[in-house]
Symmetry: C2
Subunit: 135 residues, 2 copies
DNA sequence: ATACACCCTCCAGTCACTGGAGGATCAGGA
DNA sequence: TCCTGATCCTCCAGTGACTGGAGGGTGTAT
């Protein structure tokens, strides 16, 4: 199977080169094999792992959560309750974030619409934020 | 009108004492007046400003955005188009985040439900994240 | 007089990167 | 063979938005 250089891995996964090296530093990615001249090489398995990480990050998992999730997959006989617990904990946080963001969207829509061509003195954006519902 | 100490301001706004001092450092809050012994004092205007900042942060505005918004309010004859532009730019970002989070919620729900008492080998969480739609 | 809450400054640490300096290596063409 | 340009390496400093703690001063109630 073809070995990839770090730049190609970056292109395939959408994760920047520096970030891939950072993930290796914090052991979120394993230590990459090297060529004789010291360049990192990667396999298809690394593409998968990094894609998993990238999606997980995008979806709001912390690197530590991702590490535990990945560690769990390396013990396939364990009960997956632990993974489910991580997911459920995360689900609650996600739901909270969604409802806050939806409140916010409503405020922003209401306010951005009424503010064309007016003067700052009458601007409703400031007032709307000042009175935004705080949780 | 009664002067507040920093701790009282913190209590009234839900912003931590250290964070209030940090906001002064980055000039998001003005330099506070001091007592003879050097303690910061605050007025009701500061409560309002900090509440505005707190809500704005909660709603996802950066401290720089908040600074520009506040600066705008100090020129009440200006057109408020600039404020509207900040709000609209922010609205787009909020909408993008909402749709990503809703995708994520669906995945987490689907997966947390099917993962009770099984073994890691059959756990769907990992697979679901690995294939999560990226953007 | 003492206890204790509160205030001060300064500084280091957190998280998840991002960017750049300075230098080595590699592949392709003239 | 030399050169160019892309890519790689390590190391380090910076970002944003805080957070927490050390070490010490102040204010007030008992």
């Amino acid at each position: 199977m073809a070995m990839l250089m770090i730049g190609e891995l970056a292109r395939r996964t959408g994760v920047k080169v520096n970030t891939i090296r950072f993930y290796e530093d914090i052991a979120l990615m394993p230590k990459a094999a090297r060529t004789d001249s010291g360049r990192r090489t990667y396999s298809e398995a690394d593409v998968k792992r990094l894609t998993f990480i990238r999606n997980g990050r995008d979806l709001g998992f912390s690197t530590e959560e991702l590490k535990s999730l990945i560690a769990l997959t390396e013990h396939p006989d364990l009960d997956c309750g632990a993974a489910a617990a991580i997911a459920r904990r995360h689900l609650l946080a996600v739901e909270a974030r969604i409802s806050r963001l939806m409140l916010m969207r409503r405020e922003l829509e209401r306010v951005a619409a009424n503010c064309e061509g007016g003067r700052m003195a009458d601007c409703q954006i400031i007032g709307a934020i000042a009175q935004a519902p705080s949780h």
